[in-house]
């Protein structure tokens, strides 16, 4: 697929071939026809199934059917190329599917080919030698038996993560193999949990694979095992699945549905449909079930949610790796030592991240010994936690503890190549810090600011070398959130900017170039969103109604999110934006009172950690003289309208390079949803951008079904 705004060109399919070789099994077990899936590329371009690939597999299996009937072969097995079994449907063609019939037919073609394997008159095996996802897993499920290499790095049915569902047999075969609860863990739960994948051991643990074999001689062992199955030397034991226990079956489906609703607010169609297919699998015939999968594929492939999901997937897979607007990476300077001004929580997180990812000395400075000790202590504590979780080895832990040091003097910056400040968010303080740093550091040292809202240009203005200052805005928690906003000031030179992008990449962050403007990208748009939401609630709409209006937009309701961010930070952000842009950005009087009262959020938590209304906060709420109660739909229209207006302004001001960067930022920096494509496709889909801006932001077909 493509994320450019030019007319899309249909890509040529990378065909996964299906050559067959006969293997004489040991122990007189007969001849096994071994089908290899191989697209002729290395592991970086895994096997996928497009139309031509399915046709080749179909032809191979049809040939084997004839040979099996003629008694020439006694078994059939399918395996992959090195490190890859198959990763499912070739989704690169989806943007060019323009009719529902095409989508349904792609479902049928997969079912036909995989069922041909299932229906062979000899025992069939899948030797899952490497990564298996989606249709790859479903092909394995179509076989009678499965061996799994302990080296399989990922095994998953990730379809519902994108807004699709396992439509080549997965919703039927898997629950009937391992029961509805295990099946739904793989089909719905894992995809909705940051698209979690199964490790090889879990595949066998769940009963999906019959045996786990070591990678060194996996194929030889699989063939030996298959021979054992044929001769009866190996008995395959599986936990029975009770198809008559309607109550338990439905309970598992109800539970999965409830979780899905909680995580998606019902806005992602694929996952709910998948649950219902699993529910029906208990009683449906294979033909009925597969036909239902075909129909579901027809509906979902033609849904804007799936198109948006694929668009989002492409953003995080491809655009994230090549930041738009970044200068030539050859200009980047090496970084062999890092200085950090400040030893507070943010600074300490940065210290650990730089030390882990760059492997260079990191010096933290602060005003007094106590703060310095606290910052270094934090790093040591976190390193110990990593060691405990075996995320680092004892040697690595020892290195990290020694490489992060602290001081009350900035003398340690004298040979630093990069100094980042993470001090109090106040222009005069930051300017002074940079002046002090500049007095110590070498001429080419890059100075970074982790400001979330202040002007980089202004911060650099008093320096002898403002060209080496760049904004480097992390999101909290630093170790978890993938986004990094890179902000050049007016005078920032290319070498500095290139260094920032190069460092961002080594920190394994998704870098986005943002213009030096108030609160940059995520905080500005999130600020507008939260402001508009607060404006509505402050005017008298109940929170429950407002939450329904914005359901499925952010990963959690706004006031829950606010508790996570911290009311003081949220207030500061809204005030900054209000100062910069005026009344578009609402500063909530309730929020002010919450901050003054020292509350840590709008909610208290109950004994199970769930947010519940806090009576003290309720007492602080704005009580309008004449309350205005909006409906959920009205809330949605107003909030999305505000967001669309802000997106339009950010694009015209050049805050980002393209609408795609707004989506990439909101997905990686604020956890916005794949099935909304972040935010812009949702604005287009619901007609908000046309209503507010008079135009779509992305052409039809880029993140939606082509018109």
């Amino acid at each position: 697929m493509t994320t450019t705004t030019q007319a899309p060109q249909i890509p040529t399919e990378v065909v996964t071939h299906a050559p067959v070789q006969d293997v004489v099994l040991p122990g007189g077990a007969g001849v096994l026809a071994l089908v290899t899936l191989d697209n002729g590329k290395d592991h970086t371009r895994p096997n996928t199934f497009g139309a031509e690939s399915l046709a080749e597999l179909q032809t191979a299996l049809d040939g084997l059917r004839a040979r099996a009937e003629a008694g020439e072969i006694q078994a059939v097995a399918v395996t992959g190329k090195p490190f890859v079994f198959a990763v499912g449907a070739d989704l690169s063609g989806v943007p060019y599917v323009t009719s529902r019939d095409q989508a349904v037919e792609s479902g049928r073609a997969g079912h036909r080919a995989f069922s041909t394997l299932s229906d062979l008159p000899v025992p069939t095996f899948a030797f899952v030698n490497g990564a298996a996802m989606g249709g790859g897993v479903e092909l394995a499920l179509a076989a009678d038996y499965r061996t799994v290499s302990a080296g399989v790095p990922a095994f998953a049915l990730p379809e519902t993560f994108l807004g699709l569902l396992p439509g080549w047999g997965g919703c039927y075969l898997l629950p009937r193999l391992v029961g509805p609860a295990n099946a739904l863990e793989v089909i719905t739960l894992n995809p909705l949990s940051q698209n979690r994948m199964l490790a090889a051991k879990e595949v066998v643990g769940l009963g999906i694979g019959d045996v786990l074999l070591e990678p060194a001689d996996f194929l030889e062992d699989s063939l030996r095992w298959a021979a054992g199955v044929l001769t009866g030397a190996v008995t395959v034991e599986r936990a029975p699945v009770d198809l008559d226990d309607e109550v338990a079956w439905d309970a598992a489906c109800d539970a999965a549905r409830k979780t899905a609703l909680l995580k998606t607010a019902g806005k992602a169609p694929g996952v709910l449909r998948a649950v219902e297919l699993v529910r029906a699998a208990r009683t449906a015939s294979r033909e009925e079930a597969f036909a239902a999968e075909d129909e579901a594929l027809g509906d979902l492939v033609m849904s804007d949610e799936l198109r948006a999901g694929l668009y989002a997937f492409d953003l995080v897979q491809k655009r994230a790796k090549r930041p738009a607007g970044a200068p030539d990476k050859e200009l980047a300077r090496p970084v062999t030592k890092v200085g950090i001004v400040g030893a507070g929580l943010m600074a300490s997180q940065l210290a650990l991240l730089f030390a882990r990812r760059l492997g260079v000395p990191v010096v933290m400075t602060d005003l007094d010994e106590e703060r310095v000790a606290k910052g270094v202590g934090y790093v040591h504590h976190e390193v110990d936690a990593l060691l405990e979780k075996r995320r680092v080895s004892p040697d690595q832990a020892s290195f990290l503890k020694r490489t992060v040091t602290g001081s009350t003097s900035k003398d340690g910056f004298a040979d630093a190549d990069l100094v980042i400040e993470a001090v109090f968010e106040e222009m005069s303080v930051k300017q002074q810090v940079f002046a002090e740093v500049e007095a110590v550091v070498p001429a080419e040292c890059v100075l970074m600011t982790n400001t979330s809202s202040l002007s980089v240009t202004e911060m650099a203005s008093g320096l002898a070398h403002p060209e080496r200052v760049v904004g480097f805005h992390f999101f909290n928690p630093v170790a978890v959130m993938p986004l990094l906003e890179v902000i050049p000031g007016e005078r920032t030179d290319d070498a500095t900017l290139a260094t920032a992008f190069a460092v961002g990449k080594r920190l394994k962050k998704t870098c986005i170039l943002a213009k030096d403007s108030a609160s940059f990208v995520v905080n500005r748009l999130l600020g507008r969103f939260m402001g508009e939401y607060s404006r509505i609630v402050d005017a008298g709409t109940p929170v429950e109604v407002a939450d329904r209006g914005v359901a499925g937009l952010a990963p959690m309701p706004p006031y829950v999110l606010l508790g996570l961010v911290g009311p003081a930070i949220a207030l500061h952000n809204s005030e900054t934006l209000h100062r910069a842009f005026g009344d578009r950005f609402h500063v909530s009087p309730t929020l002010k009172r919450v901050v003054e009262a020292g509350k840590r959020g709008y909610y208290a938590t109950d004994e199970r950690g769930r947010p519940v209304p806090d009576p003290e906060v309720e007492a602080l709420r704005e009580q309008p003289e004449s309350p205005v109660q909006l409906t959920a739909d009205e809330v949605r229209a107003q909030v999305l309208g505000a967001i669309a207006e802000e997106v339009g302004l950010m694009l015209s001001e050049g805050v980002v390079q393209a609408p795609m960067d707004i989506d990439l930022a909101m997905i990686t920096g604020a956890g916005f949803q794949f099935w909304n494509g972040g935010i812009v496709p949702l604005l287009d889909r619901e007609g908000v951008s046309e209503r507010v801006l008079g135009r779509r932001l992305l052409p039809h077909g880029v993140a939606s079904v082509p018109a």
Binding site: Q21, A216, D217, L219, E220, L223
Partner: protein, 403 residues
């Protein structure tokens, strides 16, 4: 510290089926290191009684130590085979006698008590690494006539042997080759060879995965008439042909060696006991004669005579060099004690791997022939050497008594 010497025993050996080198060979797209790893894995699979951490050395031979045969192959093969990180390893090169040298090296270490259990083997993927790949011969070799120029081309050294021993005619060589093919075919027919083979999954981008379960080079049913028509590539109107020489092959071998005490302790089978070994240099341009002085030295060390050797596993690099050995010791060309399952002319000779094939096969012969007390494995070695190892049959009634 007084030193106590240990007896060394051969526990078990396996090999991959041997393939034809080149684009069309079955291992064309299979890595060399993977071949030897399959052998190590098979030994572990066959001997669950041997705890992995008891393996104290992995010595793997390869003549061309480049690419997938480089990088301290013994150590990497150990790691990639799932042996513990505490198991060390190294690479060995003595050209064709690489695996034989790996065996004698680790046996020596066992003998002096430095270690108790080791794996030794060899690999040569002559398709991926043709003989002579990347070599840079010192110009002094030619300038100072250190060796004859023909010494670096093995086929020419075989022709030189014909010159030295005119009675070793092409006809005798061809007859020996036909017998080699016939004996291997019979051994396959009887299911003897297969027992020592490791099935290997063969990778091929266009053909898909396959499984190698038998040698690719053999040409059963080869006749004298067919051989008489073959070209003599090393000399016009010469004697050496593709039919009376080993070919260019891919394959790997590995075996377990242990101290007798460790074998007893762990319950490892004892299939041979090492008696003596020797490597001796000869004129490089007639390297094929090498096994003669090597065997004489090994016999002398053991206090044995050639008459006491009841079974011979001689590597058939060239028929003429095997015949030169037999002639020297007065053994008939068709003596049935010699290469009972045929030899490298039929199975193939992936250079550095072949030594262990000889030993694995001798061990099998010992089991069939308890009346034989001593056996010999011997081979010629490029650049003018020979290697010989004498083994004692544990199934013989006199085994273990004073030799």
């Amino acid at each position: 510290m007084p030193r106590e010497l240990q007896e060394v025993v051969f526990v078990d050996g396996v090999r991959t089926p041997f393939g034809k080198a080149g684009e069309k060979g079955m291992y064309a797209q299979t890595r060399a290191d993977d071949l030897v790893i399959k052998c190590v894995r098979e030994l572990l699979r066959r001997h669950p009684e041997l705890p992995k951490e008891r393996i104290e050395e992995v010595a793997i031979a390869a003549t061309t130590q480049i690419g997938d045969q480089g990088l301290t192959l013994g150590r990497l093969a150990a790691l990639l085979s799932g042996l513990p990180k505490s198991t060390p390893g190294y690479s060995v090169d003595r050209m064709c006698a690489g695996a034989m040298t790996a065996v004698t090296n680790v046996s020596s270490a066992i003998g002096v008590g430095a270690i108790d259990v080791a794996i030794a083997g060899g690999v040569e993927h002559m398709g991926r690494h043709p003989m002579g790949e990347g070599v840079d011969p010192n110009p002094r070799i030619v300038a100072e006539r250190i060796v004859d120029e023909s010494a670096l081309v093995m086929g020419k050294t075989a022709e030189n042997l014909h010159d030295r021993f005119p009675r070793l005619t092409k006809e005798r060589c061809d007859a020996f080759a036909v017998a080699s093919q016939r004996k291997l075919a019979a051994a396959y027919e009887a299911g003897k060879v297969q027992a020592g083979l490791v099935p290997v999954a063969t990778r091929h981008v266009e053909k898909g995965w396959g499984l190698a379960t038998a040698d690719e080079p053999p040409r059963p049913g080869t006749t004298l008439e067919e051989l008489s028509t073959l070209k003599t590539p090393f000399r016009p109107h010469g004697n050496v042909t593709a039919g009376n020489a080993a070919g260019l092959n891919d394959g790997a071998t590995a075996c377990i060696l242990a101290s007798e005490a460790a074998a007893d302790e762990l319950g490892l089978p004892v299939r041979m006991r090492m008696v003596s070994y020797a490597f001796v240099g000869v004129e490089p341009e007639v390297m094929g004669i090498g096994p003669v002085p090597a065997t004489e030295k090994a016999l002398a060390k053991a206090g044995l005579t050639i008459d006491e050797i009841g079974l011979f596993e001689l590597n058939e690099a060239f028929a003429v060099q095997v015949l030169s050995f037999l002639d020297h010791f007065g053994i008939a060309d068709d003596d049935e004690r010699v290469n009972p399952w045929g030899g490298a002319i039929a199975t193939g000779h992936p250079l550095a791997s072949s030594g262990v094939r000889l030993m694995t096969q001798l061990a099998a012969h010992f089991e069939e022939h308890p009346e034989v007390r001593y056996g010999l494995t011997a081979m010629c070695i490029g650049i003018g050497m020979g290697g010989a190892v004498i083994w004692e049959n544990p199934h013989h009634t006199e085994h273990g008594k004073d030799a």
